[in-house]
């Protein structure tokens, strides 16, 4: 063992009085060892200037794979057939500052050889979830799966096979973008007419902000142009560290940094203003700010008139009043690339103060922002008027009460937001993890519309990500999946055996590209639903919490052992995954596994009767447009980073090109639920709105029993549940911890480092307490990414709730109450 003395004492006189680094544990057990590997695949030549390889080493360009959203272009160094080192790839020209990497990236040489890697197919021998496994051959695994799938399809139709995924991979061959989009999964699912169970996580933002409001966000690099940056629901210093250096650049140019968060994060530590908001009340804060901005005439009315839907008139039924309502026939516009049919031009109508008449929005010189107008007995109201009226109850005083923030602080935030722009609001899922969350994105768009904090450099409502064009047709065999919904509805599906009017009798559940039973909300209810399925398969790199509940587990390779292409572009460089080493152990890619199944089922033609990886990759990448711009498969084979040809200087700023009105929208004319099973849609879904959360709200009578409001954090030492056992990360952060405020801890007799039991009616966990002044009293933060066997008992995800808002079907990870007590069972 090594002698590492406590550095605290020596540093005391330097002003560093506390120890900030957990003492490391003893030597970690190693299961994986290295196995002999076959010959290396042909290596990609890297640009010489970019190669830090010494003799005998080869550099391969690829990336990590996981849902951190970073997609860092990476150089992997291979020596003697082993991954020994990684580094961020240099990016050419003006993109050089976008070079990116993080603590998790640097540890990938260990993660490849993680002790919890799945090495060969296994079948369950004990009860489900008991952890008893027996090694089987690939033949036996495929035969068993095909037998179960064949019988299920015959007895209960294609929808009896369900594919459940999250955001593990977006690869065009093996990934599951939107639950099924890849050559591998898409073709199998659409050929069978199977059930798709997609992710529930993050859909308050994805559905409300991106899909319904068409807000795509500005480029990462544009953060540097902001005069004020608000880390609001986001934590750029820890949760998305690639934004952070741009935040620092802006600050060095005089920008203000404000953090609004119940937790005192590293972002908060660097902030000029820290606003400790009560969880799940951000929407009320936004409306309080809106009313202050309106009452104090801090609005940017020119922007509101020209660039937002504020002056658009709406009818009593909530739909827009258009020129056709005044008898002007719609005209045909250009052909839509998606439908292939001409677009319909039917302009919105506004009241023009200049002429005192109702006119098409584009022809008004002074559109009225406020007012109620009459057209042949119909009452017409401007969007702004209707929004203002429906949200006027949220005064600064009321917001102060709801959010537990002083009135003066809210007034100050409103003034800064309105007058010290451009403001970059870095929202991420801190605003998106409650049942009331999706309203936040309308409310934020509303305050941005009032103040002009959108559509220009430095002004954003989220940091965006680009997309490399691909050929989605390559993923479809039939019309589409039999049913496509959110995996969070699995308990409902297993109970009702119906989705809307359609019979859905799930007999086979295939889990891949995600660790839903560790990372989705409402773990215990999801496990109960999984138990009801006849046969469960899980394909993963590691033995995850989800794999533990399968009947058969299938080992798939680490990203560095896989060839694939990920079109998601947070930098202008999509990821071409070149194979750095051959798959370890007996791993097969998802595509290879699905090809074996297809062959056995007599469906091998869906994958082109044994088509090569290159042919299938070309099907996804060699679209007409990509070839035209020299951006097809061949463009990624020379070892250089291939740039997204659609990324231009215009991509830096979201100028509302994704909205029907080509303006900033905060009103939703025709709100439709994301997963439609016939549920009621409330009128308030159209408008900026606030309602309290489902369980985690201050006045909830349940707080008498469970007084503490839950939340969590996008952990810097995990990629969700990836890296759970990566040795160096567990040296730094050996075990899960619960953050509890010092006053709450004192009330409960909990001391620093005590083991505690955190619990509610759904479940409990036993873990170490971190007693801190860095979290709002009355709030606790649970860890994210640790696996069941890393807790002393239980699992913190068991505290969370399966209940979602059925409008956006979004996992509500933080919407729970709980209590904490000192654990009397001793240490493990």
């Amino acid at each position: 063992m090594s002698e590492v003395k406590d550095p605290t004492k020596a540093l005391e006189s330097a002003g560093i009085t506390r120890r900030g680094f957990l003492k490391t544990t003893g030597a970690a057990a190693l299961g994986a060892g290295a196995v002999a590997m076959g010959g290396l695949s042909p290596m990609t030549k890297a640009e010489a200037a970019d190669a830090a390889a010494t003799e005998g080493e080869t550099i391969v360009r690829t990336s990590c794979r996981g849902n951190c959203g970073s997609k860092c272009p990476t150089n992997v160094v291979v020596r003697d057939g082993k991954v020994v080192r990684v580094a961020a790839a240099e990016l050419p020209g003006d993109d050089a500052p976008r070079r990116r990497f993080c603590v998790k990236g640097y540890t990938q040489p260990q993660r490849v050889y993680d002790p919890d890697r799945l090495k060969y197919p296994m079948k369950r021998t004990g009860e489900r979830g008991e952890g008893q496994w027996e090694r089987i051959s690939w033949d036996e695994a495929i035969d068993t799966i095909v037998g179960k799938m064949g019988a299920a399809v015959q007895e209960a139709g294609g929808t009896s096979i369900a594919f459940w995924s999250s955001y593990g991979s977006y690869g065009v061959l093996n990934g599951q973008m939107a639950g099924y989009m890849s050559v591998g999964y898409g073709r199998m699912i659409t050929a069978l007419g199977a059930t798709v169970l997609g992710a529930g996580a993050d859909y308050a933002q994805i559905y409300e902000q991106s899909t319904l409001l068409g807000i795509s966000g500005n480029d990462t690099a544009d953060i540097a142009n902001a005069k004020t940056i608000m880390a609001w629901g986001g934590n750029p210093a820890e949760a998305y560290i690639h934004d952070w250096h741009y935040v620092c650049d802006a600050r060095e140019n005089g920008a203000k940094l404000i953090t609004i968060d119940p937790q005192f994060t590293a972002s908060a530590a660097h902030s000029d203003i820290y606003v400790p908001i009560r969880p799940a009340t951000d929407g009320a804060l936004m409306l309080g700010m809106a009313n202050y901005i309106i009452d104090n005439e801090l609005m940017d009315t020119d922007f509101m008139k020209a660039k937002t839907v504020s002056p658009f008139l709406i009818k009593e039924d909530g739909t827009y009043f258009r020129m056709s309502d005044m008898g002007v026939e719609p005209t045909e516009g250009p052909v839509s690339p998606t439908t292939g049919k001409p677009t319909v031009i039917n302009p919105n109508v506004v009241w023009d103060n200049a002429t005192g008449a109702l006119v098409a929005a584009a022809s008004a010189t002074d559109p009225a922002l406020e007012g109620v107008f009459d057209y042949q007995g119909q009452t017409l109201t401007t969007v702004f008027q209707k929004t203002k009226d429906s949200t006027k109850e949220y005064t600064v005083e009321k917001a102060s009460e709801i959010c537990d923030i002083p009135v003066e602080t809210i007034e100050n935030l409103a003034r800064i937001y309105a007058t010290e722009g451009p403001v970059a609001v870095l929202t991420f899922q801190g605003l998106g993890h409650h049942v009331n969350s999706h309203h936040n994105y309308k409310n934020l768009a509303y305050i941005a519309a009032l103040t002009g904090n959108a559509g220009k450099p430095g002004a954003m409502m989220t940091r965006g990500s680009g997309m490399y064009p691909f050929n989605a047709k390559a993923y479809f065999m039939g019309m589409g999946p039999g049913v496509s919904t959110t995996g969070m509805y699995l308990p409902k599906l297993m109970e009702e055996k119906k989705w809307g009017q359609k019979d859905v009798d799930i007999r086979v559940l295939w889990m891949a590209n995600g660790n839903m039973l560790s990372c989705e909300s409402g773990r215990q209810e999801l496990i109960d639903a999984v138990k009801k399925v006849d046969f469960v398969v899980c394909a993963d790199v590691n033995m995850t919490d989800s794999a533990q509940w399968a009947d058969i587990v299938l080992p798939i390779p680490h990203a560095y052992e896989t060839e694939d292409f990920d079109p998601v572009c947070p930098t202008p460089y999509p990821t071409y995954y070149h194979k750095a080493i051959e798959p370890l152990y007996e791993c097969k890619t998802d595509l290879e596994i699905l090809q074996l199944i297809a062959e056995k089922m007599g469906m091998s033609k869906i994958y082109g009767d044994g088509a090569s990886t290159e042919e299938l990759m070309r099907a996804a990448m060699d679209s007409e447009a990509n070839l035209k711009f020299g951006g097809g498969y061949d463009a990624f084979q020379d070892g250089k980073v291939g740039r997204n040809y659609t990324h231009t200087p215009a991509s830096l700023v979201d100028t509302f090109k994704s909205t029907a009105s080509q303006r900033l929208e905060y009103y939703i004319e025709k709100p439709a639920p994301r997963n439609n099973f016939g549920q009621e849609v409330h009128d308030y879904e159209r408008l900026p709105y606030y309602e309290h959360a489902n369980e985690s709200y201050w006045e909830n009578p349940l707080r008498e029993k469970y007084p503490l409001m839950g939340c969590s954090q996008h952990n810097k030492y995990h990629v969700h549940s990836q890296c759970a056992y990566t040795p160096v990360l567990r040296e730094i952060e050996p075990e899960p911890t619960l953050k509890v405020n010092a006053s709450d801890a004192a009330e409960r007799g909990i001391l620093q480092g005590d083991y505690v039991r955190v619990f509610n009616d759904r479940g409990y966990a036993v873990l170490k307490a971190v007693v801190t002044e860095g979290i709002k009293p009355g709030v606790v933060s649970i860890p994210h990414g640790f696996q069941a066997d890393q807790f002393v008992e239980g699992h913190t995800q068991d505290l969370t709730n399966v209940v979602m808002n059925d409008f956006c079907s979004n996992s509500s990870f933080y919407d729970f109450l709980c209590e904490v007590e000192k654990y009397e069972g001793g240490e493990r």
């Binding site: 003395k5 010494t54 993080c102 050889y113 810097k716 801190t772 709002k776």
Partner: protein
């Protein structure tokens, strides 16, 4: 002749430990040992602040060998295993000469930056990761940050400098007035660790 030094901007550093792991992998540092690490200047657990919520403060200080101009360690080493390289100013450690007396650990005021391998060094994998030319670790020797002199010999920067996500780290020749580090020290306020010990550290922290 050069005098290499490091400047770390505490206004940018977020304690992410990317440098910690870059170092650990590049030098194949054994289990239980870190040559550099992010310490929280705040509460009594990592990533926690001092004060009373919400009036709290926290910052991160990255601590490794300070490569002092006037090192305490070199003076006490009975065999010359730890010595200051006159060409670079780097305080080096020769494992082959080290007899494991640990006098250097006792003498160094920056506790924790030097580690002793009581046992055969242990690793998660049975092959060495990192730089092929990083010196192998040895039982019964003291080890510490080397400023990655194997990389310098190739004209590269130390592993921790390769890409700091926050762009908080700077490295270069303190004797060269045009180096980034020299410029920063002219332009910004800084502190050093334990200046009263007279060790003249070559690591500076911008505040």
């Amino acid at each position: 002749m050069a005098h290499y030094g490091m400047v770390i901007d505490t206004k940018r550093c977020v304690g992410c430990n990317a440098c910690t792991t870059a170092c650990k992998i590049a030098n194949n540092v054994p289990e239980g040992i870190f040559w550099t690490r992010a310490l929280t200047d705040g509460g009594d657990a990592p990533d926690t602040p001092k004060g009373t919520f919400p009036n709290v403060q926290m910052r991160y200080i990255i601590v490794g060998c300070q490569h002092c101009e006037n090192p305490a360690c070199t003076k006490v080493c009975p065999v010359g295993a730890t010595y200051k390289d006159p060409e670079t100013g780097i305080v080096r450690q020769d494992y082959d000469k080290c007899i494991g007396c640990r006098m250097c650990i006792a003498a160094c005021p920056y506790t924790g930056v030097r580690s002793f391998n009581w046992q055969e060094p242990a690793y998660p994998m049975d092959f060495a990761v990192g730089d092929a030319d990083a010196p192998a670790h040895q039982k019964h020797t003291v080890e510490k940050c080397t400023f990655c002199y194997q990389r310098q010999a190739r004209g590269e920067v130390p592993a921790c400098m390769d890409l700091c996500p926050a762009r908080a780290r700077f490295w270069g020749d303190l004797d060269d007035p045009d180096s980034d580090v020299s410029k920063l020290l002219r332009e910004r306020e800084y502190m050093q660790l334990l200046p009263e010990m007279g060790t003249k550290p070559s690591t500076y922290y911008l505040v």
